[in-house]
Subunit: 477 residues, 2 copies
């Protein structure tokens, strides 16, 4: 235990409370908790605390608070923005939820599941599926991302167009507040107007107001019919028009509606094995449409064929392929899911996880593409994403042959170029990734004035010592 | 202006700012703003401020805050719990939103509408309907209730089983904070993870953290097919089982799922003209089921007939009638909507707007019925409500022939009897009506400890002078 900077008395108390598996202090053990998965931040910590229960977590937090030790909550360590990584001072402890992995109950009458914070999203999905139900949240890191972190960051993903973000799925919550008090909001009620929406406040607060320990999640009946199609279209406006056509018929049937630019698709087709384009020729834009319903009849097939048939007749969709089997469906989804990997293989890239109102998407993509191409000639503008939510991953891939370092040296210029256009369209600089430490610098100009002022007041009220995940969301004053 | 207790300098400044229509000080003009519609509270106020714009509202709030004058935001004055009524001191001003009645935009691509706080829910519904869209929120006071108040109290109603409470419909918000700052959260984004969920915090805060001035609401395509049925069943468990059967087939089709007890239905049938039971004989329990879809095909009719047919075959439903026309549909809804009026005609009654987890509803109704019947022999336990949300209006009607005063003298005993059972089932003492001033006394025992403590800290942080709607939500310390 030679590596820790913790006061001896605190170390003893934590050791007695958590035992040897619950307290890591050797650098060899703690290192992996101090670097984010994108490798953007390399921090240090005084210890990693791994409580196995809410009560132990609460006692550990109270002890750290007593000594004024900063705490960094961490789930699956899959933050895109360094939200769960300690700073370089080595003064903070990481509190990991990865020993809190119990799935308490799945209730068929209430359509809820009660899970501890350290359960991975995949494990929660599987547990629901095993009972014929569905946890309708899906993100690419679901094998590692844990429920606590997912709620702390209000994760989004592919199915939010139908079921909302993580926020909308959480019916109940339990959290440990910065002073070690347990906040018990574990009510599985669909209507409860008894005071401030503390559950909503904690969700998306990125661990800065408390550490989520348990949650009650809403489930859905598992879909018994599903229709999936990949469509070729002329431009993002056509993709939006197709979305509106499906939405007008049945918004509840749309399980996912994903956009892929021609540039990004071409990278996938050329760089990913087994991901060739299942259409006759490349197009400027694509939509991956998935309809789903718990009904087992053929009404979904009818809906898909009617809307797509009309769109083909109108020339809105130039080509389309329908999945005729589950393996064909998975092949279409594989193409969508490989966009990030294909871009990685194509060289250095800059990610912009932005959102704008649906109506502004075409203008956004047109303007941002032109601006980036003017900034760096030869740049490959390769957007894709959850267009049904207005959420575009406006990713920028380096020109072929350019030194990646030269490209990345201009990352702020590229991000600012995109952000400035997003701002003129009343959009957001972080649709689903959160602020973490990567984007704190953007908060004053985007969320300044009364908004940031109110956030700071709430933070100070609930965490007057600033011990809970310091340095996240808020820029240093 | 002789009736006001405001400092002369403040009065002059407010008068210059708001003009004669914007500032009422004569008791004859202000009286109607000082009594809630249930006539439970008769307060007084120093003036009624009626700003016509957000900017005027912000300036008025800043002036009042400067002088430490308490402010009571008020929309349509339809609170069930005295949430918009000033106390008897006469020191507060009422700030009415009823001059802020502009509907700014309805956007078909984004499926949103932007409305000022003083627009009534009915006017907003009608404006959406005129454009072929639907604002899916419906409450009995919708002709008077205004959008600002609806969001401040997170109103619920008949369609929350499908579309959620008011909270889930609000995509953007603008509010004036207790110090007069304008908080602009007018982003119509479905994904935006950039700091604390201030919009969520304001929604349901009952005007204690600020005054909502404008909102962006999510719309839906208007339904093009609808199926409505009234079913007779043996008990609440059977109603829940029927609900689960529909939900398993298609939760998104369920626009409303209402429960009515046999006792409450009998009062409607006997006391309301034109509301006779459209079934062959009375039953212990009824369900009003409404399915809806923007699809124009016959899939909804098939769904209704399949589920109901099976339920009749299984003996789950003992009798049922399907609406074959819009007028028949309205007749069925009239029966549901007259329950409150019928109970009023039957004598004195005590309302309990409670919620429990769905799975606990049968146990709740059985236990609470027995307990109330033991407390007051002859009492008519007449529950009804939004069973699909777990929200039961567990209303108690006086025994026939009893003096109403004798009955109402025991109101706290009845409310506590019901509440104690709700509490053992992890329910809520206020599902959709809020806390207001009527239920502040329940907060310490129900939401005490860390929860109320956190709420108080947030209140103190954002309203350190306690000038914004004082006496609501929080019991006097």
């Amino acid at each position: 235990m030679s590596d820790t900077a913790l006061p001896a008395a605190l170390l003893t108390a934590l050791s007695e409370l958590l035992g040897p598996t619950g307290l890591l202090t050797d650098a060899g053990d703690t290192d992996s908790f101090c670097t984010d998965w994108r490798m953007l931040y390399h921090g240090r910590c005084a210890a990693v605390l791994r409580p196995a229960t809410t009560q132990d977590c609460a006692k550990a937090v109270a002890l750290c608070a007593e000594y004024g030790v900063p705490m960094v909550p961490q789930g699956g360590n899959t933050s895109m923005v360094g939200g769960a990584t300690p700073d370089a001072s080595g003064k903070a402890v990481v509190i990991s939820t990865n020993r809190m992995t119990r799935i308490h109950t799945i209730d068929h009458a209430d359509l809820t599941m009660t899970v501890e914070a350290g359960v991975t999203l995949k494990a929660a999905q599987d547990a629901a599926a095993a009972e014929g139900l569905m946890l309708p949240l899906s993100i690419s890191s679901e094998g590692s991302a844990e429920i606590g972190g997912i709620l702390a960051t209000n994760a989004g993903g592919n199915n939010t167009v139908r079921y909302g973000n993580a926020r909308e799925l959480a019916l109940g919550l339990e959290a440990v507040l910065p002073d070690g008090q347990v906040l018990n909001l574990m009510r599985r009620l669909r209507k409860d107007n008894t005071g401030y929406a503390l559950r909503q406040l904690l969700i998306g607060s990125e661990g800065t107001l408390g550490l989520i320990t348990t949650a009650i999640l809403q489930l859905q009946p598992a879909p018994r019919s599903r229709e999936t199609a990949l469509c070729a279209l002329a431009d993002p406006q056509a993709v939006l028009t197709l979305f509106a056509a499906f939405r007008k018929q049945d918004p509840a049937a749309i399980q996912a509606f994903e956009y892929m630019s021609g540039t990004s698709m071409a990278l996938v087709n050329s760089l990913i094995d087994g991901a060739s384009l299942p259409l006759s020729e490349p197009a400027p834009a694509y939509a991956l449409v998935e309809l789903g319903s718990p009904r087992a009849d053929d009404s979904l097939r009818t809906l898909m064929e009617e809307v797509l048939g009309q769109a083909l007749e109108d020339g809105l969709v130039t080509d389309a392929v329908l999945a005729e089997s589950e393996s064909q469906r998975q092949a279409l989804w594989m193409i969508r899911e490989e966009h990030a990997e294909a871009q990685k293989r194509a060289g250095a890239s800059v990610k912009n996880d932005v959102s704008v109102p649906l109506s502004a998407i075409p203008e956004f993509i047109t303007k941002a593409t032109a601006a980036c191409e003017a900034l760096i000639p030869g740049i490959r503008v390769a957007p894709f994403g959850h267009i049904g939510d207005g959420n575009i991953h406006f990713n920028l891939v380096q020109p072929e042959g350019m030194d990646p370092k030269d490209f990345l040296a201009q990352d702020h210029a590229m991000m600012d170029t995109v952000a400035n256009i997003v701002r003129t369209l009343d959009g957001s600089f972080s649709a689903e990734h959160g602020v973490g430490q990567l984007k704190t610098y953007m908060m004053p100009s985007w969320r300044g004035g009364a908004e940031l002022d109110a956030m700071r007041k709430i933070k100070a009220a609930l965490d007057p010592q600033t011990v809970m995940n310091p340095g996240k969301i808020f820029p240093q004053a």
